[in-house]
Symmetry: D4
């Protein structure tokens, strides 16, 4: 069943079914602050409207994931990314490379990777290449250079985008994470560092916002030659 | 004369002549904090190394612009962008659209536009389409949709990227400006707003950093199909 | 029984029974940080003093709501608004329209709506009209224009008041909410955005302060022609 | 000559001639950051479009005021408010009372008063009634009570709205000013104080934003019974 | 048993037994972050050294209070102040008046009152006289005027010290509390307000620091004529 | 000529002539932001009302001081304190000791000393006893102990009140100064340090607020036995 | 068994086995945010690579410590420091002295001491010598002077490094701790104080970062004559 | 003439002549905020007390430098470092290496280098090795490794210490500079980055505090084997 009303009123939410027509991508469920029942209902409604293309829910709690598994058995749960997809993933166009500085940045990197994939890009992940052991980064330089868009995930001092941006000229999106303590102020130190990067062309998203980076990177990669 | 040493030591600066090979783009002169003589010398050295492609100096003071005009007569001064180029501009590939919310955001938008052009993209500007008169934005919707990358420049509450991001799915870079007063805290309000945009896929650069947005947008646009 | 002492001393609180005479509205119970017993006692005392007009308690916990239900059976609990009223609601004068950007802003919008109602205004609610799907806002433009006062509730980047303020000239109160994460800093991003709105005449209350917005809006609406 | 194009393109600005139709009030010139010539040109264009109703420019420098006086001799300069009007002021409807805590808050109070007047309200000013000499406030209580809307202007600790809000129930808009030093942080202390006022129904605008308060107050007052 | 070593080493702490000689007052136990056993041990050691004068522990948890009750049966627990005293209270000299704006400021006011008493002053408390019902403050003006030192406790916008400081010239110490939400930022709004008070001579202590205010006030009061 | 109206309206200011009756001290002129003519007029009016007791103007610019000298020849200018007095200084009661950490803290210390003197206390100054050369502090320990109230002035890390507060039990007021750079943030570092002092009973005033400290200290000292 | 691959890929982490060759010290496990199983696996792998020299895990939870005890019985748990070592501690070279202001700073001081020991220095601890009882500090002056590097740990106002830095010229590292409340803002007050110390040569690490201070101090001490 | 009084009272300052005995290094003149005459007088007095060892003044303005040249002809002015020395420089012990990320960091690096030299260490400088062209850093790796202490100076995102700290294990002091704009907040971004460095053992001084880093580094280097 295909939809033609632009908005679906579920009582607790008005789902924007017109968004794919305007922007090329369906609406996504930000599950934090919604009940498991609401997450299931919105996912189901979005899937009805977009049956041939995967829809996505992010920040899915364990309880919500369990109810999704019970009610929507074809849904797929990505535990590391704390996300759920429903429907067939698109054929990848272009290549996004997700680079993470440390092990603890894993969940944010996983969310970015899944979001990029759901939004139509091929995705590769490179992990644990923080600047304190920079030889690990040089070993993967060619893979960085071959990507259509880079997502660089780092907490603490957030230095990785500056170093990567001096090595390759690929479009790059920095994702500061809340990994750190004390004067990291919940990711503020990494955010400010990325905004002040001396490497030209680094763009930044909100702290821990792997999803936003994934959407932006997919849009860049899938229109690349 | 073409260069093959990776670094040119001018005494007061070590110019990275290898950057174009690594990243595809030559080094750029950030003129703020340098003397007019230094700006001239670095520009000249970069032009020697990259004679067939324009090199760029940003944040150029009136004094520095005057000395550049005297010493490097083929240089071109863009007064609105407070920038200078030296050498032939590249043939544009792809199209960047620079959208500015208000008249006072003009210098930052101009810097973004020039930087995108110097880095190889075609550029179009749309000005004074702030969200308090949103009909002006709808009138240009098609031009937004046709771009390969959008740069959206706004001060004060920085709301424009969220509205644009709900209308089109083109890759977008928000540039917060320091336009505002009181609790705008020199652009912090606009920066936070853009980082927290509810529109998916908005990426952000530093306050007033038109240059960085231009580089990133050109890299996205020039590899677009 | 009508009161004529200006202050009622309950031991743990001194209830300002004179406030209605000075300002037109009785004191309200802010239940957060009070025991369920204290909430019940103050509500009962206020009701004694103002028997013909509903009195209000806000930020009422589930425990306090349960005790109120047991001890004051005529009280009405509004679970979404986390609030309780006791006594007959006034005949509405004027019309307040409460507009919320997202589903998660619901509790704050509900508190605003109930407070406006208890303070004497008629109230209408419009939900889920965030700026990323702005067509939803245009669909309700006439309802906005017909109100005597607007309350506009939004978290994240807090852009909705700016857009609404460009569409209609109705008095408007923005309520930033703590919905968001990372660099939203508990609602600070939305607060700053609303304070810096480029739309003329936007006024603002504290983060999540639906109550304050409701009182202000009712005072504006009920004196409107 | 009356206008019917919604936007007037002056090259350096696109003037929103449709705003009065949408919101009831014409666009206003924020002169800060514009050249004297630009201020003159926009004022003239707005006056052409709204010949029977005063248009306003705020934050007008001495230089800009001089050029306005030379080029638009019928314009009126309010030096205390740092503002200029052009065209006949409207017949006042309703009454706004502007209350200022200290002498140094004068310019902001004057801007608020003029903006309220230009936007159609009658205006009364009460000055120098700070909370450290609170008897001065009680002496004017009746005048506060008779207003349709109060604008309360204060710097330093910003306590005046709380005290006024406990005395009368008139709609009130607090304007924090940058008057103060040290830990006032350019008006932040007063802004936070007003946002946290224990008096119900206080709304707030940006630091030093007399203009915004005046617009909001006029809209409230002119629709009052 | 009287002590003559200046420091008593308990292993987990070095108790400063010389402080009374230097400053006139014994050391006090800040119990937060110490185990119940440690609180008991330090209290006991201080009591040994100062048998004729009450010693004090503040921020005492319920568990620590229970163990103190079991181990040191002559200790007295002040539940509202979350504090314990051991030994005879001194004969009061001078009079401290503790004024609190709201019910929720009670624990901080109680800690201040007890600390002032333990440090040698007579203490009177006045509660719930916030600025939104300022007639309650005028009713107690004489009691304020008769004190040797005032402690004024307030959260939210922290306006009470400014109003009190305009009524009387008694030495005054403001105590901002963390009562509030949103942009109160855990008491920061009240702290900044008190630091910027327009009333002359207001001094301030840390957020929620009733103890510090009590010590300072007692030292002022007990040396008053 | 003695005054009996409580308020003197000078047009640009309403002078609170009743303040001495309420609080024991006349109003003081904060000259910053006032014209030299205004400073002269208010000083003259206050002197008329309080002819037998010195009145004070603080933050007096060189221009204002020159006009005061010309118009009010009996006025006395304290250049270090940037202040002016007019009228006979009171007979000192009690003793205030003003201690400053460094040479650059001199102007703030001088303002504190003069304010204390004008408000009725005897004053002694001790300078350049910063904690990095702590032997200088021990050399003056007896003078600290003999005071009725201490004012401790320090910028940078603001450590001096903590050290002094461990040596003597005299009432103490810390004055953070804006001396410092980088992460001193205009005195914020010193302010936070003093608010968090581990020495009991330290109270604090605003950054650079020597005047406020002087008033508070004089009130404490002049009522001391 | 000695390793010669520079990186060991454990799936969830890439252990930098080359770090000792580059920097002289093996990688350390920051256990916060890792599962007990991960902590055990990385510790075991590091021990394999560095069998003759102790490896370290910091911020070890009770659960992780229990699993380490079960799986790696030769590991040693330092409960105060919340850390675990595995393998023989090196022969100490040079002497680090860890000075803590208060009892609550104990865990951070213990982490610093253990880290310094593991990284090759001899370590001495001095506790509870806060500036409010400064005689305790003078009593240990010789021990401070004899050290090769000092680590000075303090929360609240963070004044101890300034006082120590005025007494001795030994290299010194300040560690601000999160001990405090209210306007200590989680250690920010102490951090700013140490950064602004008037004593020459004070260097600082992140809030609560005992580990970092220990590494730096050991590197200084072990190369001292 | 050699001194034996510990303090020299110049009226405007008390010079700590005992500091060299306690800490090994004489007092230094921080010239900012002092008159040229005061700078000359203190320098002369310090030179009298320490005739065989250079004394130092930092943050010396052009005016002060000119007066020093006239009055103390043997003084040496280091224009880049904005500093003056008087007396023979010590024989260098150990080696400090000062590494700067960019040209604009030059003055801070120069101040650090001179301070290290004056305090007894040999000094080497490496400039313009920012992380965006990291090959320049690898080219000097051996020189980094051979130093006894590193001073790493960087503005903007402050990433250089993290990269250097992953390459060598030499004691390192990071100096954040105020180079940058927008969200660099005067060096705050670089400061936070360095405090959160993922490289072990990085210590930090205040923004632009080259002097402090130089003192600390010299103390480390001159006691190295």
């Amino acid at each position: 069943m295909r939809d033609d009303q632009p908005t679906a009123d579920l009582g607790f939410a008005r789902v924007d079914l017109d968004r794919e027509r305007r922007t090329g991508d369906p609406e996504v469920v930000y599950a934090d602050g919604k009940t498991p029942e609401q997450v299931v209902a919105i996912l189901a409604r979005l899937h009805d409207a977009h049956p041939t293309r995967a829809v996505l829910a992010t920040r899915v709690s364990a309880e919500a994931a369990a109810l999704v598994a019970a009610e929507l058995p074809s849904a797929v749960h990505d535990a590391e990314a704390r996300a759920v997809t429903l429907g067939p993933l698109p054929t990848p166009q272009g290549r996004v490379c997700v680079v993470a500085a440390g092990t603890s940045d894993g969940p944010v990197a996983a969310e970015a990777a899944l979001a990029a994939h759901v939004h139509g890009a091929g995705v590769e992940r490179i992990t644990d290449v923080g600047v304190a052991g920079i030889h690990r980064l040089f070993a993967v330089r060619d893979r960085l250079d071959d990507a259509d868009c880079l997502i660089v995930v780092a907490g603490m001092e957030g230095a990785l985008p500056s170093v990567v941006g001096g090595l390759v000229g690929v479009p790059m999106i920095g994702v500061p994470t809340s990994v750190g303590y004390g004067a990291s102020f919940g990711g503020l130190a990494a955010l400010l560092a990325m905004l002040n990067s001396c490497a030209p062309g680094v763009t930044v998203v909100n702290i821990d916002n792997g999803y936003g980076a994934g959407v932006a990177a997919a849009r860049i990669a899938r229109r690349a030659r």
